[in-house]
């Protein structure tokens, strides 16, 4: 089946070449980072995690969202998702690979990455994250690929796949929970030190992932002669709606707790996030965009007429994706570091090289998604 990803129309070729170019540019800057060190990024002593880790966190959510297809289809026999479950799994695979790549490029000593396995440290959440992420990658690639291959052969999938698929359901929850624990288990960072972190992560994941999937389905329908089906897309849209609503609700809960209790250590972070501190308000501006986009998207999704309109649905899904990307892919990580333990208000903005590497990794992921989906569509259209 692999060869199907290597052949395609002119448009496919150009798109793949474009992505490869971005990957190459990213790789070039990564080589420079290897040479110079992580100082090539905008990271500093105070804001020691930035764009890379934020992308990682956001993408874990995208990866986890496959469960929103797998669960209804396999546990509740929701037939409409039968056509696209594999799309979710392949999206998860690509997202996990991006996650792992982002963690890798964030390492100061990538040449020692193997130390993670050579000196396993069960007390470290990061160790567990490596385990669950790779496990999830394996589960999804094996189940997705096997089911698709059986499809191609026109035979039912082998019996051993089912248990793995069932296993992938709690596993999906675990990856985002463990990722949330990376943050929420740190004593000194008031912004992250909240039990609702994992639920918040899951809620936003189940909004952003399916939203992206809807966008992909609409693209496939428009350009690749593959229709996921009205019912599947609408159901997904409803999932996005409720997950987004929940996600917004959780943020409100957080805001209430922090501001009503007035504990400064917690309040400062949220103030910085939404309003800025002492004039440092770049993030706050982004967050304003995020908040408004989320609200507009929510409205578009709740009203059945707009939800059923494909263009508006696409707009809403894009909005959800953008909003949550800003929230997790920009706001979440940096805000945890501001103000710093010594009450400094450092500024962080990614450098050109950092952005190029980030774009490169995204392009790599998109390339994988493209190739996986190409294989999928080729098999399904056969």
């Amino acid at each position: 089946m692999l060869e199907k990803a290597l052949k395609g129309s002119r448009g496919y070729g150009i798109w793949v070449a474009f992505l490869l170019l971005l990957v190459a540019v990213g790789f070039f800057f990564y080589l420079r980072q290897l040479d110079y060190g992580l100082g090539i990024t905008g990271l500093s002593r105070d804001v020691s995690w930035g764009l890379y880790i934020a992308q990682f966190t956001f993408l874990v959510g995208i990866a986890a969202s496959a469960v929103m297809l797998v669960l209804p289809y396999y546990l509740h026999d929701f037939k409409a998702f039968g056509r696209i479950t594999i799309l979710g799994e392949f999206l998860a695979v690509s997202a996990v690979i991006m996650c792992v790549t982002f963690v890798f490029v964030d390492l100061g000593r990538p040449d020692r990455a193997v130390n993670l396995l050579l000196y396993p440290s069960p007390r470290s959440v990061l160790f567990w994250d490596v385990i669950v992420l790779n496990g999830y990658l394996l589960l999804n690639i094996v189940t997705g690929w096997t089911v698709l291959e059986s499809d191609k052969k026109g035979i039912p999938p082998p019996a051993w796949v089912k248990p793995l698929i069932y296993l992938s359901i709690p596993w999906a929850v675990s990856i985002h929970t463990v990722t949330a624990f990376i943050y929420s288990g740190l004593p000194g960072r008031g912004f992250w030190l909240t039990a609702i972190m994992a639920p918040r992560f899951l809620a936003s994941a189940f909004a952003s992932g399916p939203a992206l999937l809807i966008l992909f389905c609409l693209i496939l329908k428009r350009f690749c002669r593959f229709d996921a089906g009205e019912k599947a897309i609408q159901t997904l849209a409803k999932i996005v709606t409720y997950a987004l609503a929940t996600s917004i609700f959780f943020v409100m809960v957080e805001i209430f707790t922090v501001f009503y209790s007035q504990v400064p250590g917690h309040m400062h972070h949220l103030t910085y996030l939404f309003a800025g501190l002492e004039g440092h308000n770049t993030i706050a501006r982004w967050m304003t965009v995020s908040a408004f986009t989320a609200l507009i998207s929510l409205v578009l999704l709740i009203i059945p007429r707009t939800r059923k309109n494909e263009s508006l649905l696409a707009l809403a899904c894009f909005g959800v994706f953008l909003s949550l990307w800003i929230e997790k892919g920009l706001g979440l990580v940096v805000t945890g570091f501001v103000p710093s333990p010594l009450e400094a208000i450092p500024d962080y903005s990614p450098t050109g090289a950092e952005v190029a590497i980030t774009v490169g990794v995204w392009a790599l992921g998109l390339l994988l998604v493209t190739m996986f989906y190409k294989i999928f569509v080729s098999v399904r259209n056969e």
């Binding site: 040449d111 020692r112 052969k153 035979i155």
Partner: protein, 331 residues
């Protein structure tokens, strides 16, 4: 029993090991370091060349290219220049894909009968592990050049640095070492486990794999468990290439086994299936362009044959042809 072939090759490897040890612990060790290297290498070079020449002496009478894609025909039909090349550039491309990426093996499928019909599945593990093995073996051979030239060319150090990018242990574990071991193990297990492959396997098939596994294992042992004194090793290797072989000092038994295996492989190479390394380039189904109707190809021994001429034909059927009203050459 077909398992005999496996056992025999295991025994052969044991004998080789023992004789290597025999060399190591007797005064004969100088043979292994002064005479045998030249014998083995000369055999390799001469044998390889001889085998190529022996193939080249035989003509290719017909253009029997296997076309795996659309021919070049009408201009508006998209052809596959690499699968069905119509010119020399296409052939070079096709050969490059074959040699560097194992194109044909990439097509591999498997078949099982499910519900009373054969079902074809993608079967790329052989391709993957085969490619892994060959590329890592090449890397390892190139890396070993560090023992044979002084000063070491920067590209060799660069290659080693990339290969040893990940800092695993001291001295660092080379990725190519892991890869070659993985590839060989897969190829070996496949031969032993899959009944069909076991059925077709000969002594030589197991022997080649076991010999390579032996070389890799002894190499890894020397790097990571029983370190050899590299100063001596390099001195020895440099001695070979400058035709001043040094007598070895303090090289452990593992080193002798390693050497013995390598020399065996070199000397055996030209007389074995390993000649596929050179043979692939001469394979007429792959190295010919599909330009059969565009250019006339000559067969040097174009066999003289007796044909049935039209005259003979008309002579035999003249009456019948006349009766049918068909035109005739001779009334």
């Amino acid at each position: 029993m077909e398992i005999m072939n496996l056992l025999t090759s295991l025994i052969a490897i044991m004998i080789l090991t023992l004789s290597a040890l025999g060399f190591a612990f007797t005064p004969l060790s100088f043979l292994l370091t002064t005479v045998l290297p030249y014998v083995a290498f000369a055999t390799f070079l001469a044998g390889f060349t001889y085998r190529i020449l022996s193939w080249a002496r035989v003509p290719v009478p017909f253009r029997i290219t296997t076309t795996c894609g659309q021919q070049a025909s009408l201009p508006w039909i998209k052809n596959s220049p690499l699968e069905s090349p119509s010119n020399v550039w296409g052939v070079i491309g096709r050969m490059a894909l074959e040699v560097f990426l194992f194109r044909s093996l990439f097509r591999n499928t498997d078949v099982v009968i499910v519900g009373q019909r054969p079902v074809y599945g993608s079967a790329k593990w052989l391709w993957f592990f085969g490619l892994l093995f060959h590329w890592s073996l090449l890397t390892i051979v190139l890396r070993h050049l560090r023992f044979f030239i002084e000063p070491i060319a920067p590209w060799i150090n660069g290659l080693s640095a990339i290969d040893g990018f990940f800092e695993i242990g001291v001295p660092t574990l080379y990725l190519s070492d892991v890869a070659v071991l993985t590839g060989l193990t897969f190829l070996f297990l496949r031969r032993v486990v899959a009944p069909q492959i076991r059925y077709i396997s000969l002594f030589a098939d197991y022997f080649a794999l076991l010999l390579l596994l032996g070389i890799v294992t002894t190499g890894l042992l020397m790097r990571h468990f029983f370190p050899a004194d590299l100063l001596h090793v390099k001195n020895l290797a440099l001695g070979w290439v400058t035709f001043a072989p040094a007598l070895p000092k303090e090289a452990g038994p593992v080193f002798y086994i390693h050497l013995c295996f390598v020399f065996t492989l070199m000397a055996w190479f030209p007389f074995s299936k390993l000649m596929h390394m050179g043979g692939i380039f001469l394979s007429p189904t792959r190295n010919l362009a599909n330009d059969n109707r565009m250019k006339r190809h000559l067969n040097p021994w174009n066999a003289p044959v007796k044909v049935h001429t039209y005259e003979e034909y008309e002579d035999e059927f003249r009456e019948k042809m006349k009766l049918a009203g068909l035109p005739l050459e001779k009334e």
